[in-house]
Symmetry: C2
């Protein structure tokens, strides 16, 4: 520990404590340009593999390739596991399979599976062939489960023991083992058929005397995960029940691996990330993707939006005569649609998240629908008053003010109902509400907004 | 383990394995109606505290109160920690302070802090007074750090040892302790001034022989957190570096507590949740909040949207003459604005997340800005062609088609730039990009969309 820095300096430092220093990155790129291998290695000296991964993501593709070629043999190749998919694919494309195999050989089985699952089949086979037979079997077994399941996420190397063992026996066994897993937090207690019956936390084990049996130390709360359980459900369980590690069982109920909380944490983060991106109308793109990939990925979402926008325009076209008679309608109509769109988005955002976190269930669904409708009504009335007065003053026309006020109430009421019913409906149909709700809800609010405002105006004003 | 269920039945079960069974919830509410305390208790029998918390969230407020009154004395009151804030406040409001104090007495200090920090000061004082002196001091100390920092998140009870201790001494010490923390994963190694110098994972400790010193077993990768470090940074560090537990130090560098990964996981989930809600234009509301609270919370976001919508309308008003001459302009103009809004939202969603996950830094900012501009241009051209043809055919006017095509390119180009520059700018100014980017970006795309389309149309067509 060095002397504490003055407070304001400290705050500055703390601000981007975990961000890579841009000056360091610039210096590394200079050394890469100069082909200075020793310089680059000394600059990345004590970077954590996760930071090394961030570094490779942040430099541009040309520097990246030269950087990897310079340092590959000398760095902890585990960093490849931490690199995001697009960049990893790129790096893998210029690594010879035997170089990749060497990197994979040093990984725990869950990390090996994570790296291998995205590779082309031929590369995958070559890398698998280069592994130790025991590791190869474990990795191949994991890969035999569907992508995105507990079977892919688990570490096949774990510590197990029968319930009748004593603490002393257990400790002696652990001391005698020369290949304990890198990280483990529980001993899994298994019956003679290898079915998990409980677990003993290492802290509990350490606090107990040698003659005590493991059975008497087993945690009250014990859960197993099935190999084919979706990883999002696994992550939910870890977060909900504060699990640190849990055994994974196959169809026969035998323990075949263990999932630890750090893997669950990543899945949880990825799932939230996916929801955010889907709600924002983007797919699984990364900040390092290229122009062409990104344009292609965003195109379908924009295409859907174009169709809904044209639908809304067809509604406007119905009232061309009204608009040409009273052009103020054209000026005001986007306001009604926009407010409905925003109110609908608010409701659907809350609904999508509540569905994802299992807070919105059939128990409270009707209550929530009623509430969202009332919220729509309440804010509809509030903004009807505001906008009614604005329109009245702006166009010196009290009837026009009244028309926009009524349209506002109608659209915000409908927005509230659509914002909750559409995600619930999509969820019931087995579709991802984060993916499609937005397009449906804004279509409804655009169409209803234009229809209510222009229809009413045509009836009352002309 | 019971007999395995037939496969399709199993899948069904797995589908909502972690959701509360609505039939159970309904049955419990019936028992509550009947005032059948024994019945309710047997129904909630083996529910995990987290599920008990979900149950209290899901039932309606009237049943909730009667439910709590019936079962409070007989359940594990730790469930209160798991209940979301709004519902917790409600429950706390009808618990006598001494009942609350009793619940808090059984909690670990970090959970106690979490419960207490939201209470009114007078209740907080009463509850604190009822705690054991040692716990009271620890909880009060934690509460003295700002909300949302490592100091509030930490558990003040942790296992520490000097570096020269042997594994044997450590194990003997742990066996002799009668109040080990409920969960711990590392021993924190401290120097004589109580400054942490390393940590030994329990798995490593268990695998080593008695005469080995702790110093020789310390993990390579060791990080400390400062008491005033924001909890989002703490969560980021845990996720980035796969940390399971880390000591928290005060200004003097002394270890004052430990944060474990399960707490970090919750913070990470909450931070992503907050980003989602802010991007969706809602505050920190929960699915169980009441109509009035929700309406009030959503009002400001809608008010901001109203202002931006009116701004856009002012642009339209500039071209009233053009619209009354050619009403097709009114029909088509929302399409240009809507496409720009969507493209801008796509870009800003990616930008906001990349800023949150520190993937967008000054190293790659210029590259990302250039790329987003190009993506805007590429999709702008694609949709210009499509929409140009649609407008040409619809209104049998090739020049109108050309006008909307040019406006589309301009608006999608601007959307790409605004979508990336606005979040980066807000971040540089220290504002939360998730909070305000949306309003700014859609203002830009609305204004530019209407201006480009109507302005060009007025110049070319009339």
């Amino acid at each position: 520990m060095t002397e504490p820095l003055p407070i304001d300096r400290q705050e500055d430092e703390r601000d981007d404590e975990y961000a890579l220093d841009p000056d360091l990155v610039a210096a590394i790129m200079e050394s890469v340009d100069a082909g200075d291998r020793v310089g680059v290695l000394s600059q990345i000296g004590d970077l954590h593999v996760a930071d090394l991964a961030d570094l490779t993501e942040q430099i541009d593709p040309e520097h990246r390739r030269r950087f990897i070629e310079l340092v590959w043999a000398d760095v902890d190749q585990e960093f490849l596991v931490e690199v995001e998919e697009g960049v990893r694919d790129e790096i893998v494309s210029y690594l010879a399979p035997e170089m990749l195999a060497e990197a994979v050989r040093d990984l725990e089985t869950d990390d090996a599976v994570y790296l291998l699952e995205d590779l082309e089949e031929s590369t995958q086979r070559e890398v698998l062939a280069a592994l130790e037979p025991a590791d190869r079997a474990a990795v191949a077994k994991s890969l035999s489960y569907p992508e995105g399941t507990a079977g892919r996420l688990m570490q096949s190397d774990f510590v197990k023991a029968p319930p009748f063992w004593t603490v002393g026996q257990m400790i002696d066994f652990l001391r005698a083992s020369d290949d304990l897993p890198e990280e483990f937090y529980d001993v899994i207690i298994v019956d003679p058929a290898a079915k998990p019956v409980g677990k003993v936390a290492l802290g509990t084990l350490l606090g107990a005397r040698r003659p005590v049996t493991l059975e008497s130390l087993m945690a009250d709360d014990f859960r197993t995960l099935h190999v084919e359980e979706p990883e999002e459900d696994v992550a939910y369980a870890f977060n909900q029940y504060h699990i640190v590690s849990a055994p994974v069982v196959d169809d026969s109920g035998r323990a075949v691996g263990v999932i630890t909380i750090d893997d669950a944490m990543e899945v949880l983060e990825d799932a939230a990330e996916e929801d955010i991106k889907r709600l924002g109308g983007v797919g699984d793109e990364e900040i390092s993707d290229r122009v062409w990939e990104i344009s292609k990925r965003r195109f379908p979402w924009l295409a859907v939006n174009l169709v809904t926008a044209i639908l809304a325009s067809l509604v406007i076209a119905l009232y061309e005569d009204a608009i040409s008679e009273l052009v103020a309608l054209a000026v005001l109509m986007p306001i009604v649609a926009s407010m409905g769109g925003n109110a609908g988005t608010q409701t659907l955002t809350v609904a999508v998240r509540a569905l994802a976190t299992r807070d919105l269930t059939s128990t409270n669904a009707m209550r929530v629908v009623a509430r969202e409708t009332l919220v729509g009504l309440a804010n509809g009335i509030a903004f009807a008053v505001v906008m009614g007065i604005v329109a009245w003053i702006w166009f010196a026309d009290p009837v026009l003010g009244a028309v926009i006020a009524v349209a506002m109430v109608v659209n915000l009421l409908v927005a509230g109902m659509a914002g909750i019913l559409i995600p619930i409906g999509l969820d019931k149909l087995g579709a991802d509400p984060a993916l499609a709700s937005g397009a449906f809800v804004t279509t409804v609010t655009d169409v209803v907004g234009f229809l209510a405002f222009l229809g009413l105006a045509a009836a009352v004003l002309l």
